[in-house]
């Protein structure tokens, strides 16, 4: 469902991505591990449109987001991107909006869904995440783990087919790692999501992954290090 071909990115003279190839199958949890500075965050940012690659292609559900380094039209890009969600390392919730508003804002504005329907869907998502009682709270009133679940809910509300996680365990108590792993597995099984996770936490990666790839010095090792 996601295909990355020969992706390259330079920051000045620093080659961060040196021809990365990656293929994700539907419903699969793929984990990319590797030391920081190895390019995995840049890869994730390229897939999510936060960084523009210099060369290579990104294909989502047969549609080109980038073809040989050239971006598709803005209109196509917006359409294609609706299939991808991202949960940030620091969550980046909107602090001035309640949990419910955080989740309903994008569906209402981007997908044009009415307030009532958006709130109904948000309530379903929040019960799935075990957070329904927090719907009127503000992010500053939540714990780290709860914030992360809201961030997941915010991404889910756009009904993506692929959901990406940037270092999902780094901002949490070590004790919560298992819980996050279970939630992500539940996403893949119950919501039939394709999941891409970037982490340097090997144990967590091994726990959650269908497939682990390693990345270092701008090169993604395509051979599976681990397969369930």
């Amino acid at each position: 469902m996601l295909k990355v071909e020969g992706l390259e990115k330079n920051f000045g003279k620093n080659k961060v991505l040196k021809g990365v190839n990656l293929q994700l199958e539907e419903g699969e949890i793929t984990v990319i591990v590797g030391p920081s500075g190895g390019g995995k965050t840049t890869l994730l940012r390229c897939i999510n449109g936060l960084t523009t690659p210099d060369d290579g292609s990104i294909i989502i559900n047969e549609k080109y987001l980038y073809k040989d380094g050239k971006a598709s039209s803005k209109k196509d890009e917006i359409e294609i991107r609706k299939d991808i969600g991202l949960v940030f390392q620091s969550f980046n919730l909107f602090p001035h909006m309640s949990v419910l508003e955080n989740i309903t804002e994008a569906p209402r504005v981007v997908l044009g869904i009415s307030k009532e329907i958006a709130e109904k869907k948000a309530a379903e998502i929040l019960s799935f995440l075990g957070l329904l009682d927090k719907k009127d709270n503000y992010p500053c009133e939540l714990s780290g783990g709860q914030k992360q679940r809201v961030a997941i809910g915010r991404a889910l509300a756009m009904e993506p087919k692929l959901i990406c996680f940037d270092e999902p365990t780094s901002a949490l108590d070590p004790g919560l790692t298992g819980e996050v792993a279970n939630l992500i597995k539940k996403l893949a099984v119950e919501k039939s999501m394709t999941v891409l996770i970037i982490t340097h936490d090997m144990n967590f990666g091994a726990n959650v992954a269908d497939r682990i790839l390693s990345m270092d010095k701008g090169i993604l090792n395509e051979e599976h290090m681990y397969m369930k």
Partner: protein, 213 residues
């Protein structure tokens, strides 16, 4: 006592001028400030340089000079304004620059992650600015804006230079005529009351924004 009562109608007229300058200046300088702040933050080098130069001039020269320049100076090259519009123009241009710097600082203080979080959800840039960034920036800049508003109440006294009879001028004339300090004390108290009202107002607004951190 009688003197003070006799003075009241004049004081009232002076207060009216003071408040008019205050309200017109705020009404126009805040939108101007937003525009200039956006110009300063623009990726377009020409726009950010021009607006940067504007702020330098407006903050780098006395407001009194700017008023004098517009009312007495510009007619020399054939651009003439009436007293009141000239004073307002100078105030708006000057305060717009100060507000612009406050807004710019507020907008750039918002974490990059807020833009990115909104962008990956597909929210359009305009919506991101108006609904995600601006409300958060507004909360942060309220104390600085309150400062500026309080300064403006007192700066309105400068319009005496173009011959407008604002509050302080009325007080000064009365003090001279009666060889008494009382009129000056009286207008001082009026300024104080005005500022007390605005301080309370800003406290209320800050409270409204205190539902999150």
């Amino acid at each position: 006592m009688d003197n003070i009562i006799n003075l009241l109608p004049q004081v009232f007229e002076g207060l009216k001028v003071t408040l008019q300058v205050f309200i017109f200046t705020l009404a126009f300088s805040i939108p101007l400030g937003v525009l200039i702040a956006l110009g300063r933050l623009s990726k377009n080098k020409i726009i950010s340089t021009v607006t940067g130069f504007y702020v330098l001039i407006m903050r780098g020269t006395p407001l009194l000079l700017q008023i004098v320049f517009i009312f007495f100076g510009l007619p020399i090259i054939g651009i003439a304004f009436d007293r009141f519009p000239a004073a307002i123009l100078a105030f708006v241009l000057n305060y717009g620059a100060y507000f612009a710097e406050i807004f710019r600082a507020g907008i750039s203080s918002i974490d990059e992650g807020q833009y990115e979080g909104a962008k990956v959800l597909g929210l359009p840039p305009r919506h991101i600015f108006l609904k995600i960034i601006l409300p958060q920036a507004t909360k942060r800049i309220l104390p600085a804006v309150a400062n500026e508003v309080i300064t403006l109440v007192k700066d309105t006294a400068l319009v005496y230079v173009v011959g407008l009879d604002e509050l302080l001028k009325i007080g000064k004339i009365a003090a001279n005529k009666e060889a008494s300090l009382i009129p000056l004390v009286a207008v001082g108290i009026i300024y104080l009351l005005l500022i007390a009202v605005f301080t309370q107002l800003f406290k209320l607004v800050e409270k409204r924004y205190s539902y999150y951190q």
